[in-house]
Chain length 282, copies 2
């Protein structure tokens, strides 16, 4: 099983759009995917058509009220399950302040969950009693590096960093790499940056070309960097700006259900293939 946190403290760079469309694209490659929404805005939850206020149990209950992960799982479509978010997550940081091991709550929940740890059958429909667990766990993070994002970093093996090729978005890269380093050293030695996905890419603008080049040369020369991110790559696939990607969430659909013939659908399909083929050196 692979587990990937979609993280970047810069706001509005495409974290939710990437979490949802990557999760759905992988599920269409017949992978069983669990999407965990750790953002109190609950946008990934809405984007896959689940109402954050209608589910009895959410990511908040898993983190704060000691509920098992299985209690919060909702099937959104074939091969895709979601752990929905809840607005109360915005106070989780305060509620958990002072609780020892608060950064690793989600990791413990994943370890102790029969489905995530592989000892349980996951059925798509009543008749289909396949022997399987999740192939992928994808976690959508909020735009900060607080307790919720740290829980994601402690729980996964890989981080995927969506980056808008703008100056302000590039500026935060070093802070994020530092957080990955610190997480790898103190809370999760397995943690590695898988790669950077350029999102909201406006081909033809000088800014996108310049920032794209800056990021690529940074990682090409990163051989001397910290082990948690020196093997990271910039994905070949660039997610182009495409208004269909911004329209799809209002219908509670991924780009594949909403506009399967758009640039957005082909870009996220290609990114999913790249992610699925990517193997980090051990």
């Amino acid at each position: 099983m692979r587990s990937i946190a979609i993280a970047n403290q810069k706001g509005g760079v495409g974290k939710t759009t990437t979490s949802v469309n990557l999760a759905v694209a992988l599920s269409r490659l017949q992978k069983k995917v669990c999407l965990i929404d750790l953002d109190p805005q609950a946008h990934a939850t809405l984007h896959v058509g689940v109402s954050p206020t209608s589910t009895p149990c959410s990511a908040y209950d898993v983190l704060v009220n000691d509920q098992p992960l299985a209690a919060a799982l909702v099937q959104a479509q074939e091969n895709l399950w979601v752990v929905p978010s809840h607005l109360d997550l915005s106070v989780a940081e305060m509620t958990l302040a002072g609780r020892p091991g608060r950064e690793s709550i989600l990791r413990e929940k994943l370890k102790s969950d029969p489905v995530c740890s592989g000892s349980h059958q996951l059925a798509n429909t009543q008749d289909d009693k396949e022997q399987s667990q999740f192939d992928y766990i994808i976690i959508d993070c909020p735009p900060s590096l607080g307790l919720l994002s740290l829980n994601a970093m402690a729980a996964v093996d890989e981080v995927l960093l969506p980056l808008q090729p703008h100056f302000l978005a590039l500026h935060g890269l070093s802070k994020l790499l530092e957080t990955i380093e610190l997480s790898a050293e103190h809370i999760n030695p397995r943690l590695r940056l898988l790669g950077v996905a350029l999102c909201l890419y406006e081909a033809g603008t000088r800014l996108a070309a310049e920032v794209g080049r800056d990021v690529e040369s940074f990682f090409a020369e990163a051989g001397k960097g910290h082990p948690s991110w020196k093997d990271a790559r910039v994905f070949e696939t660039k997610i182009r700006r495409n208004i269909r990607l911004a329209e799809a969430p209002s219908f509670g659909q991924s780009i594949f259900e909403y506009a399967n013939d758009s640039n957005g659908a082909s870009d996220y399909h290609n990114l999913a293939s790249e992610v699925d083929a990517a193997v980090l050196p051990l």
Copy 2:
């Protein structure tokens, strides 16, 4: 003196771009402006050409280390002063957890500061000993509704809400209005939503037109809403998407220094005129 928090928990909707370019536009209308950067990313600080790591005192010291506001003030250009941010602000929430009155620290600092409260001379240059104080305080907020944004809400009289006309950005509006209501009822009875500025506006897209109409009809019928936001307006000026606005921060310049003849410059000039002319009913 007018004080305005630029707030929205949704990430990447144009808070920093609006804070900086509005502050500079007002300073060009010969208003004396103090821009306070409460976002740990320090993007507003960078955008006006101040290095967040080079100043001896920052917003973090004002909030956590009991420094007076005047100790952190840096003049960025004529008529514009900045209280720079610092990365440590990201832990301010944890550091201040449990401290009584932690939401009102910034308000107390503004009240006890001679310049902000009007009992002190503010000199643009050594020779120019004008009797004046700030005409405007503008506060850039991070993409969350935590302690930093609450400090801003407690300290100002008005909130300006930058909104990208996308579904995910519109979804968070009710949460932000609730936060303004609660702040007005519990920590700052003077607080009012001044208005919504549509940012990153892509004229010609159906999505922008639809979301723009939704927001306008929401506030047109808001007469029955809470007193803290029922008189809010949607500004006539729409800030159009314009790559120059995304290029300017990499030069540490506002849009007026970087590309004064661009759409971005005229949009922010027009927004500043509208803001300056706007008077909330008492």
